[in-house]
């Protein structure tokens, strides 16, 4: 049936609120960021057009390059370590071993605590003088490993990432929900054919959870790219800018009244984020399974 002029008007009216919101809260800010990235602007006095100079400045700044590298490592750790860990736990809990509900709650619990509170707790754990970690190492006779975890050039960044990797609850719940929607009959048939539990997981559960795994990977990697509060709270990018990330870099440019450079780094962040999402979508071209 051909759509009439009135139908198009009706569609437009229905879409208008969404279009207005999308334009106001997404297109306009992004456009504004792109335009102001071409300005030398302190946010207070008049801005001057400098073309691509801000991009030249950030790409010749060692700290910005370190920030990109750290974000990429963080994103990859999220996608390649955190999500597989969440998948593994979800597969175990999906078999409903004794106390599985308690474990599910325990794993998810950190997700309802504020990131700032967690960061403060970990700051105390990693402290060189009174930290739990060094105390534990002392008790088990590994004094030689004691260090100022967040104030050491070599351990600061790994410390930041490692603690964060254990917070898998969010992804675990997504995957667990997907597993629960797989019909029991698939497993019954596989059992009759003699498939072990491991084979059932490898050839039934994981392929059928591809969609949610892809979602988790996207979320984990994007989270890795927009990481800020943990770094800000725990190290503020130090020591020696070794733990700097792109959003923190952007924030510091704003603190220094370099709004043009801040927005240039924002544009780079948007581009990298878009590339990551496109890549994951391409890698996980989710097939449709008939249930």
């Amino acid at each position: 049936m051909r759509k009439t002029y009135k139908d198009y008007i009706g569609m437009l009216v229905f879409l208008l609120p969404a279009i207005v919101l999308f334009a106001a809260f997404f297109l306009y800010p992004v456009g504004y960021v792109v335009v102001t990235s071409l300005l030398k602007w302190d946010g207070i006095t008049k801005a001057t057009f400098v073309g691509l100079n801000n991009y030249k400045l950030i790409f010749t700044d060692e700290v910005f390059l370190t920030s990109i590298k750290n974000n990429i490592i963080w994103a990859l750790a999220g996608g390649l370590i955190q999500v597989p860990l969440a998948l593994m736990i979800a597969l175990i809990l999906a078999r409903k071993p004794r106390g599985w509900k308690i474990f599910r709650t325990v794993y998810f619990f950190p997700n309802i605590i504020s990131g700032v509170a967690l960061a403060m707790m970990w700051s105390a754990i990693f402290n060189d003088e009174y930290g739990v970690l060094n105390g534990l190492l002392r008790i088990i006779g590994l004094e030689s490993l004691q260090r100022n975890w967040l104030g050491d050039l070599h351990s600061a960044f790994p410390s930041l990432i490692i603690y964060w990797l254990f917070y898998i609850g969010y992804f675990m719940i997504i995957i667990l929900a997907e597993i629960s929607s797989i019909p029991e009959t698939y497993y019954e048939a596989a059992s009759i054919d003699g498939a072990s539990k491991l084979k059932q997981d490898l050839f039934i559960t994981i392929p059928l959870c591809k969609g949610s795994i892809s979602t988790c990977m996207t979320l984990a990697m994007v989270y890795g790219l927009r990481q800020f509060e943990q770094v800000y709270m725990l190290t503020n990018g130090g020591p020696a800018n070794k733990t700097s990330v792109m959003v923190l870099y952007l924030y510091k440019q704003i603190q220094n009244y370099r709004y043009g450079m801040a927005n240039a780094s924002g544009v780079v962040l948007i581009i990298i984020g878009a590339l990551v999402i496109i890549t994951i979508k391409k890698l996980f071209r989710v097939e449709k399974y008939q249930m």
Binding site: V13, I44, N148, G151, T235, G237, P239
Partner: protein, 435 residues
């Protein structure tokens, strides 16, 4: 689509657009562009985001003064305090407010390097006419120069700070140190003795803005290069030499100094885990309240040591205006008058004296102290020493661009951990300065 559905959709769209429009509606209650001249009887609200809250030594007395002001002006003026206890959060909020043109009616700022930028914003109230009526005679003349831009007085200079070295004499005695060091050679000898006695000599930090270590670096730069050192920029060899001394200084501190915040650094000192600290008079209140084992009684303050062969002099001090009070430009004359009335109230010598005696803080507002006034021991020592000082030079952070001040903690941690040589440390600061 039925007619009813279309009408409903249209209504929804209108409601959402109205909602958006409402979001951008200026706040006429506390906004800077409020014009209430048609309703002169209405109580004027002054919005005052305050950092003097929570654990701040001025929190109690400030709260009392503001309550008294509100009481005196019931029905006419009401000062509403927005409590922001975190310095960095406060700075970020004020910066954002000024950038977006949403300047609070009254606010404070503490970074001398930012003042000129704020003044150029054309969003601050020109206080010249009020101060020139005689009000400015209450202030130290040089402080008024600091807030004069384009022949206009754009803010009120308020709290002043000097940053001597604070020594815990009880811990010094444990290490058989009986005299406060006069030179850096004596200072490091003392550090060696303290270390041998199992006491971490100094409190240092590279976290946040590296405040305590930044003050030490400021002292060293002036002790080596003299009071005019900042005129020469980073090419002055004093900056490099001071960096080398900082490396040595970090051999005499706690293990967690790299990455430590102000809370950690000050916490070590007031808990007697370190013997030497550097901070300003505002810390007196905290020392009295939180210092362990009646620590206040055993603390002495002194100017930083002299650097042998340096251009600095004995007794030289680092000092700076720690708080300026700014006010938003007003279009409503009644509100402007109310804001000025409040500013005059909190900067009156009588009230400033109350704040000073209660907190130990120092001010650029002049007031008389009588023999009956209970001046804190340490505050009295600081006043006496700063009066005798051959010069008082602002700290490093106040002498450089915000970008350099922001890069300093990172450059310092790199220097201490051996990631950067002193020369590379200076290069890093120079680069931040040039961007």
């Amino acid at each position: 689509m039925s007619k009813t559905q279309r009408i409903l959709a249209l209504l929804l769209a209108v409601v959402m657009l109205t909602g958006l429009a409402a979001c951008s509606k200026p706040n006429t209650e506390t906004g800077t562009a409020a014009n209430t001249s048609e309703e002169p009887q209405k109580e004027i609200t002054i919005n005052f985001p305050s950092i003097w809250v929570g654990k701040d030594s001025k929190a109690g007395i400030m709260s009392e003064l503001i309550s008294a002001f509100n009481q005196e002006n019931t029905g006419k003026i009401k000062v509403v305090v927005e409590e922001i206890g975190d310095y960095q959060a406060y700075r970020d909020k004020m910066r954002t407010n000024i950038t977006t043109g949403n300047v609070p009616d009254v606010f404070t700022f503490d970074n001398a390097s930012e003042t000129q930028l704020f003044f150029r914003s054309d969003k601050l109230m020109d206080l010249s006419s009020y101060l020139n009526e005689g009000w400015k005679n209450d202030f130290i003349a040089s402080a008024i120069k600091d807030v004069t831009f384009d022949n206009k007085i754009m803010a009120i200079p308020y709290e002043f700070g000097v940053t001597p070295v604070w020594y815990n004499t009880r811990l010094l005695e444990k290490a058989n140190v009986t005299e406060i060091p006069k030179t850096y050679t004596e200072f490091f000898d003392m550090c060696e003795k303290l270390k041998a006695a199992g006491i971490a000599p100094t409190s240092q930090m590279t976290g946040e803005n590296a405040w305590t270590s930044m003050l030490w670096y400021s002292q060293l730069v002036v002790a080596i290069g003299g009071p005019d050192v900042y005129k020469n920029g980073f090419d002055d060899p004093a900056f490099l030499e001071a960096a080398k001394i900082m490396q040595k200084m970090y051999q005499y501190t706690t293990k967690d100094a790299v990455g430590a915040t102000a809370g950690v650094s000050a916490g070590h000192w007031i808990n007697e885990r370190t013997a030497i600290f550097m901070n300003g008079p505002w810390f007196v209140g905290r020392l009295k309240n939180e210092g362990v084992n009646n620590m206040y009684d055993v603390v002495e303050v002194a100017p930083a040591p002299v650097y042998e062969g340096g251009k600095g002099q004995e007794g030289g001090y680092i000092g700076f205006i720690q708080a300026y009070i700014g006010a938003a430009k007003q279009t409503d004359k009644a509100k402007e008058a109310a804001v000025v009335k409040f500013l005059k109230y909190i900067t009156s010598p009588e009230n400033v004296k109350k704040v000073s005696l209660a907190s130990g803080a120092m001010f650029v507002v002049k007031f008389d102290l009588g023999s009956a006034d209970n001046v804190e021991k340490l505050q009295a020592q600081m006043i006496e020493q700063s009066n005798k000082a051959p010069y008082i030079v602002p700290h490093f952070q106040g002498n450089v661009k915000p970008a350099v001040a922001s890069e300093f903690p990172q450059a310092l941690s790199g220097l201490i951990l051996g990631d950067k040589t002193p020369e590379k440390f200076i290069e890093q600061l120079k680069r931040a300065d040039s961007m």
